[in-house]
């Protein structure tokens, strides 16, 4: 066990856990940030996607000891009032069915649009195909990323 100091959503947190504990479980079990979801534990589904210094990473395979001083952003901290263009687009397009994968989808899309504010459809599909949606809301996810792109910048 060791004490890890983390910067998450611009707040300082600390957690006493084993260094190999994935960031996902530290967020969920230790810090009460349950918006980041567990889906597969092996970086196959993307439900656990968070931002590490603005880049999308799979928190289920990221040991907490490897986070260091990097700034972590979770779905809870993507925007203060839940009004990030991607979050708004998700509501406007009415994307969610069960909703379980959507936090990860939104975090993937937000990081992608930061890199590529005006993507082509092909680029959207390429960026989003790493995230599974078992309900099959893919058409709407694609649409929502397009909508968000028109509202970013």
């Amino acid at each position: 066990m060791a004490l890890f100091k983390l910067s998450i959503n611009n707040r300082a947190y600390s957690a006493e856990v084993e260094g190999d504990t994935p960031l996902l479980w530290v967020l969920r079990d230790n810090l009460g940030l349950v918006g980041t979801k567990y889906g597969c534990g092996i970086a196959q589904c993307g439900a656990c996607t968070v931002h590490l210094d603005g880049k999308a990473v799979r928190s289920c395979v990221l040991p907490v000891s490897a986070v260091g001083k990097a700034k972590v952003t979770t779905i809870e901290g993507l925007s203060e009032k839940g009004d990030h263009p991607v979050q708004k687009a998700w509501d406007e397009v009415d994307v969610s069915q069960c909703g379980y994968c959507q936090a990860g989808q939104i975090m993937t899309a937000a990081a992608f649009l930061k890199e590529k504010p005006k993507p082509t459809e092909e680029e959207i599909v390429g960026a989003m195909s790493g995230n599974l949606c078992r309900c099959g809301t893919y058409h709407r996810i694609r649409e929502a990323v397009k909508v968000a792109a028109t509202k970013t910048n």
Binding site: T21, V34, C98, G99, C135, G136, I141
Partner: protein
Amino acid sequence: MRIAAAAGGGLFLGFNWSDSAAAPVVVDAKSIVAGSVKFNSYLSIGSDNSITIVSPNPEIGQGIKTAFPMIVAEELDADWKLVKTVQGNLDPSQFERQVTGGSGAVPHSWERLRKAGATARHLLIEAAAAKWGVPASEITTADSKLFHKAAGKSAAYGDFAEAAGKLSAPKDIKLKDEKTFKLIGQSVRNVDNKNIATGKPLFGLDFYREGMLFAIIQRPKAFGFKLKSVDSAAAKAMPGIVDVVTFENSVAVVGKSTWQCKKAREVLKIEYEKAADLESSEDHNRIFSNLMDNGEATVRRKNGDVEAAFKSAAKVIKAEYQCPFLPHSPLEPMNFFAHVREDGVELVGPTQTPDRARGEAAKITGLPPEKISVEITRQGGGFGRRLSADFAIEAVHVSKLVKAPVKVIWTREDDMTGGTYRPAVRYRFEAALDKNGEMIGYKLRGVGINSGNPTREDNFPSGSVDNLLIDSVEHKSAITTGPWRAPITNFLAYAEQSFIDEVAEAAGKDPVEFRLALLEKAKKSPAGEVKYDIDRMIAVIKLAAEKSNWGKKKGVFQGFSVYFSHRSYVAQVGEVVVEKGKPTLKNVIAAVDCGIVINKSGSLQQVRGGVVDGIGHAMFGNMTFKAGTPDQSNFNGFRLIRMNEIPEVDVHFVDNGISPTGLGEPALPPAGGAVANAFYKATKQRLRNQPFINEGAFKGIS
């Protein structure tokens, strides 16, 4: 029961899910809070204009939490923005059909919800009429407001909520003419969108309780094993581990975090012994072949003289279709919270059958059911998996053994290898054609594994063929199986619709014309009972053909499929285009008759999602076994469809004003057939086994 408006006073209407004929009744807010009234759902209108509707059915992504209150709000003429939906908990003895499964929630509740809304509106009008001194018949309503135009009066619902709460509800209430619906049929966004997009704790896995322990369970690694011995010394010595307990054939590692439990489970030393045959997929193939020819079949439907028809046939077509086992793979794995105390049990979690969880908890603890509460969380998909109570049973066992609140969490590997699968099945179809290409005989034998009856003997083409025999043979396996979205028909529909395509081709007829002719025949001279609505089936076939421009598109290979399930009718056309020598599924056109569409947005997505699910599992889904152990344990080995693999899905609803029927499942069954028949046209190779990706036609294509 959490009634948001209960504190402020207003109109409270109790209505009953267990008796559709019973009228809604005005109830006293205090008695609701005290839990002393016997109603199982409530509609409340607060003095602050807030409208709260308790939705009793579990939400698993089918959109019930949005659709139910829409129905009430329509009859109430409520301002949708003021309507709040609250998920009802399991209320002992009160919720009758508090189950999500079988696409049955909306058909079951349609009348009751409408009556509740209409009754509330009636009472508000009565209250206003008394105060204003005008006839009730002259008062109109819209957007949560009451109007008397001649007297120039208007008021908000909240202004009369309390007065309305003092009246008694009428025994009979007139419902709206469906043609005047304003909210029903519109696109209304999911009521939980904001919470979902901001990561609020909604799901079972998100439920945490102060002092709660975590449990990760080792279940037998092969179906057919039973527990022999456990050495848990090393696991108990791991950091954070509180205890290791054993029940039935399971070993639960209980500790202070998910990760610690998961790691400690890896050092358990467990010995198993054989309790049943350890089956492999090769065994299943052998069993299917053997039972298909030699099994003792149970006759499911028989019309005419099928043997004579086949003897006199000008042509006989015969084909076998097979599918593999499938896990459900809801993205939120199984999990459940239980706190077993001496005087009662608290259960919290994602279940499609809260009542079953409670019943099982009562059995394990010996406590009466009324001492057991069940809080239903939002659920990260279900697909049938959460109809079982195994995970709730585990939580109760573990909590009872460690005497603490416990959350049982399944890893993805546990979820995928833990059983309750859609079982593999093999079908043999035979059709007899006369010299004019008329289908005079039809035989179907299904060999199922733990299926009970793997056929749907009264579905099309039954009723349209004079001489017909449908029977089935069963194999009992130690591999656990259960309902999977659109049970049986999730594969049978594809097999049947693919085979019908083969028969149409052998008869030299267009697949759409061939189906229509069979249905006309069933209408004119039915062979035995017809248990589907022929006209509704014809209507979706024609609509799909029209919208897809059937048979008239150049360079597009179209495949047709139609199926009736869960009281709804869906026809689909798959469209394959050959790009650089590679056949690619581009579009699916779906024509859907689910009666009145309640929420256009939710319904559209439900159909698209069902098609994507159907195609995804038909293309890629494959679970195999070696000596009772699944070969696939996570999404690296078991392939789910991704965004880059989906076709466009174009959805058309039939507008016939019939009371609504289910939509959670019916779009899935026809998808595989539409796709397989389109690929056949493009490649001239039949896809008779799922997953398609392993079929000859796809070798080297990917």
